[in-house]
């Protein structure tokens, strides 16, 4: 205990040498806002929060922590949904909110160099005068920061055509756990050596601290159109998704909502969705005039051929915004019809959408819990929202089991436990379902190549092998996940 106290005192002493007092938070009330990220069910107070402003400060802080073996959890805007920025009780939060400058806009190369604390939407806003934008648009884009986007490999509604963060970032500067600054990637279309840029993207703060990002910008599409199609049954809607792709069209966005989600969203946002439909698809197309007209007619025909009962096209910006408003409000809308909901994030091959939705509905009956399905259909990225009431005895536990069943179903159907929210702390146990011990061992080898003492974001993203072994045993015995007392939403 004494040695621990000594090391904490040495830490604070050393940090005071690096940072001004107001940028080193140690009082409980100052630490409180950092106790969780967007997944507030998991909470923990760190030893301290440091808010550096320069890369040199980050390097010094990391060197101090490394020498004292103090864990470091990097944090951007704290909007993540998987507990990735949950503090470690024996460690510090390294907040990058003061790294909020746009460093350079290169109009000719269509790139922007930014600090990691710059908000996702601020990039597109700064690029707008040049007719450019940054494509990945996670739903939290007004608040989330680019450093966090890189750490989570954030997605959004336009991934099908424009890719994820990994496809739209050209270079990242990281500070390693030894305090070295290393540049991964470059301003060119490829870089010699291993693709460590891809490795760091989506690594959830486990391999290095992201301190600078060069993003790729795209020319704004000249025109967009949005179609909405309604279906009498969910299988038809699922098949329509594959039919659009098979017709050779790659929509900018292709979203789906089921009956419960439609009704909740319509009551909330008045988007004009048909209340009698079992499912709707929203399809956004973009391009120049000729491309667009042609694609609109192909998609409309395909939708009708796939048994859509109605197909509506929004041409004006206002009509498009209205159709999107319902989709964008779906989560809060579902929040209004149920005291609690639990948001899942699995991905499955598109061809299995219909059968997975059918199975989710069967599970819904089995668990006697309603589920609203809102998702990025074009990518097969599901966000089933399981509705429950945490105040009713046993419901939370039921919702969690239901959620775990859905994720296991996704893996069984050739998919994954997380499409865009990340593993973080939340899905660490499901990693044992998706990966076997040999695969997890390989992940640990990667981790140790960057961070031999496991100081960067410990306990996240990749489960310890013994955790999976214990979990596997528990699965066999009674099918229950550990920590049923922890609430999730």
């Amino acid at each position: 205990m004494n040695t621990q106290l000594e090391s904490h005192n040495s830490l604070l002493f050393a940090l005071r040498e690096i940072l001004e007092e107001k940028h080193l938070l140690t009082d409980k009330e100052d630490l409180k806002p950092y106790e969780c990220d967007g997944l507030s069910a998991y909470q923990c107070l760190p030893l301290a929060v440091v808010l550096p402003e320069t890369i040199e400060e980050v390097q010094k802080i990391v060197r101090v922590c490394e020498s004292l073996r103090i864990p470091i959890v990097a944090r951007g805007a704290g909007t993540g949904l998987s507990g990735g920025a949950l503090p470690d009780e024996g460690g510090i939060i390294l907040g990058l909110s003061r790294f909020n400058n746009i460093l350079d806009i290169d109009d000719e190369n269509m790139t922007m160099r930014v600090q990691p604390g710059v908000r996702n939407l601020a990039i597109s806003e700064a690029a707008a005068p040049y007719g450019l934008y940054y494509a990945p648009d996670p739903s939290s884009q007004i608040a989330c920061s680019i450093g966090g986007n890189v750490a989570e490999n954030a997605g959004g509604v336009h991934c099908l055509k424009y890719g994820l963060t990994v496809h739209n970032v050209l270079e990242v500067k990281i500070v390693t756990v030894e305090g070295e600054m290393i540049t991964l990637g470059s301003n060119t279309l490829d870089t010699p050596g291993y693709d460590l840029l891809a490795l760091i993207t989506g690594s959830e703060g486990m391999l290095g601290i992201i301190v600078e990002v060069l993003v790729k910008l795209l020319p704004r599409p000249p025109l967009t159109k949005v179609l909405m199609a309604a279906f009498d049954n969910i299988e038809d809607a699922g098949h329509a998704v594959g039919a659009i792709i098979s017709a050779g069209v790659i929509p900018a966005g292709l979203e789906m909502m089921d009956r419960l989600a439609i009704q909740a969203a319509e009551a909330f946002a008045h988007a004009g969705y048909p209340l009698d439909a079992e499912a709707i698809l929203l399809c956004e197309l973009d391009g120049n005039k000729e491309q667009l007209n042609e694609q609109v007619s192909i998609v409309a025909d395909t939708l009708r051929g796939a048994n859509a009962t109605t197909v509506v096209m929004a041409s004006s910006k206002e009509e498009q915004a209205k159709l999107w408003a319902g989709r964008k409000a779906a989560f809060p809308a579902v929040g209004r019809i149920s005291p609690d909901y639990y948001c899942m994030d699995g991905t499955i091959p598109r061809k299995n959408i219909a059968s997975v939705l059918k199975r989710i509905n069967e599970l819904s009956e089995k668990y006697d819990l309603r589920v609203a399905n809102v998702f990025h259909a074009g990518d097969g990225n599901l966000h089933p929202l399981i509705l429950f009431d945490a105040n009713r005895r046993g419901e939370l536990k039921k919702a969690e089991r239901f959620g775990a069943d859905i994720l296991e179903l996704c893996v069984k159907m050739g998919g994954t436990i997380t499409g865009e929210h990340g593993v973080g702390r939340e899905k660490i146990d499901q990693m044992c379902v998706q990966f076997n011990l040999d695969e997890l061992t390989q992940f640990h080898s990667v981790k140790h190549a960057f961070d031999p003492y496991e100081l960067l974001n410990p306990g996240k993203a990749v489960p310890a092998l013994h955790r999976c072994a214990e979990l596997g045993a528990m699965h066999v015995h009674n099918g229950e996940l550990p920590h049923p007392e922890i609430p999730r939403f």
Binding site: T188, D195, I245, R350, I417, D438, S445
Partner: protein, 368 residues
């Protein structure tokens, strides 16, 4: 999905060979079609060859998924025929330097072709990988879905690793619909005018899918539907004063596979410069030069000392690879020297993933 591609699963046999190589500390030379032996550092001299050619076949292909999973020994040529029969293609248009080029080799070398600057590289297209790792285990990462953030991205790490991190058994790749039509325009342009044109057309959403500039001529390939290509036809013919290239398919095949006259008659080393697209004309390399990717990839055949070529590329924010010419310059490392801290990270990763150093040692860098 029936196809003419023979299905042969040799994974257990290959795994056994890796395992015995581990037991004997005996380095392995991983080999597919052996069409890129000229590329990179020389392979380790050994008779212990891990022959992937016997591991072939399509594991999963449903065209509506825009994805395919294939065994690494499958020939690129056979794969392309299969995809074309479903009006699909590999968006990164990989070159083939011989008929036996395999998809495993395509991934490990990570060389993308003419379409790369417009529809992404092989690392953008890879979705999943199955490999034999440095513990002799068969492991899977990723899958057939594009949105997948569970665990580290091992699939992309395998691209361009030259087989130094494990033996690829199968890969899943994202596909794109084959364009309904393609047309190539030829324009009389200086190098500088070519850069400006490519940049402008890109901003104007002209559906470009490849550019090549060579000796005062700019070749621009457009891909799309009949309607979209007709819409820009008069602009190219009347405003840009372009001509339509008659044998366009053969032309792009020759560019892609390095059979174009520029690549054929060189007696000097062939260098590949990867540069920011807006890099100006480099006077020093105005001699025998072929420019692709709107300026981002420039090929030069030049006798200038390696350090000069490399420092010029570096000055413009890019780098130079000695692509072909190790015979003339055996002492020159084909890939540029990495920053010391970055190289230390490479070594650390190699040591962790291939602790016995058996996978293609030295093929990418000395010491990896």
């Amino acid at each position: 999905m029936p196809s003419a591609i023979p299905s042969r699963d040799s994974s257990l046999e290959l795994q056994q060979q890796v395992q015995s190589s581990l037991d004997l500390h005996s380095p392995l030379r991983i080999e597919g079609g052996n069409t890129k032996a000229f590329y990179g550092r020389p392979a380790v001299q050994t008779s212990n060859v891990l022959d992937l050619q016997k591991h072939t076949g399509v594991l999963d292909y449903d065209p509506s998924e825009l994805a395919i999973t294939i065994r690494a020994g499958t020939r690129l040529k056979d794969l392309e025929v299969l995809l074309a029969s479903h009006q699909q293609m590999l968006a990164f248009e990989p070159p083939s330097f011989g008929i036996n080029s395999t998809i495993g080799g395509v991934v490990a070398a990570g060389i993308s072709g003419p379409r790369r600057a417009f529809s992404g590289s092989i690392r953008d297209a890879i979705l999943g990988v199955e490999m034999i790792n440095g513990e002799g285990k068969i492991v899977h990462f990723g899958g057939q879905v594009m949105k997948n953030v569970a665990g580290y991205d091992m699939s992309r790490l395998m691209v361009r690793s030259m087989g130094t991190l494990g033996a690829i058994l199968s890969v899943s790749l994202r596909l794109l619909p084959k364009p309904e039509k393609e047309i190539t325009y030829v324009l009389e342009r200086t190098q500088k005018e070519a850069f400006i044109g490519s940049q402008k057309w890109r901003r104007d959403h002209i559906p470009m899918s490849a550019t090549t500039w060579y000796r005062g001529k700019l070749y621009v390939r457009l891909s799309g539907t009949e309607i979209t290509l007709n819409a820009v036809e008069s602009h190219f013919l009347n405003v840009e004063k372009a001509e339509v290239l008659a044998d366009d398919v053969a032309f792009w095949l020759a560019i892609k596979n390095h059979q174009h006259i520029f690549f054929q008659r060189i007696s000097k080393p062939l260098w590949r410069l990867s540069l920011p697209a807006n890099t100006p004309v480099i006077a020093r390399f105005e001699g025998d030069l072929l420019v692709e990717w709107g300026g981002a990839q420039r090929w030069i055949s030049n006798n200038a000392p390696a350090n000069i070529i490399r420092s010029v590329a570096k000055r413009f924010g890019g780098y130079a690879t000695l692509f072909h010419g190790q015979k003339q310059l055996p002492e020159v490392p084909p890939f540029p020297i990495l920053a010391p801290e970055l190289f230390a990270l490479h070594k650390s990763l190699k040591r962790k993933l291939d602790p016995q150093n058996i996978f293609n040692p030295g093929r990418l860098y000395l010491g990896l």
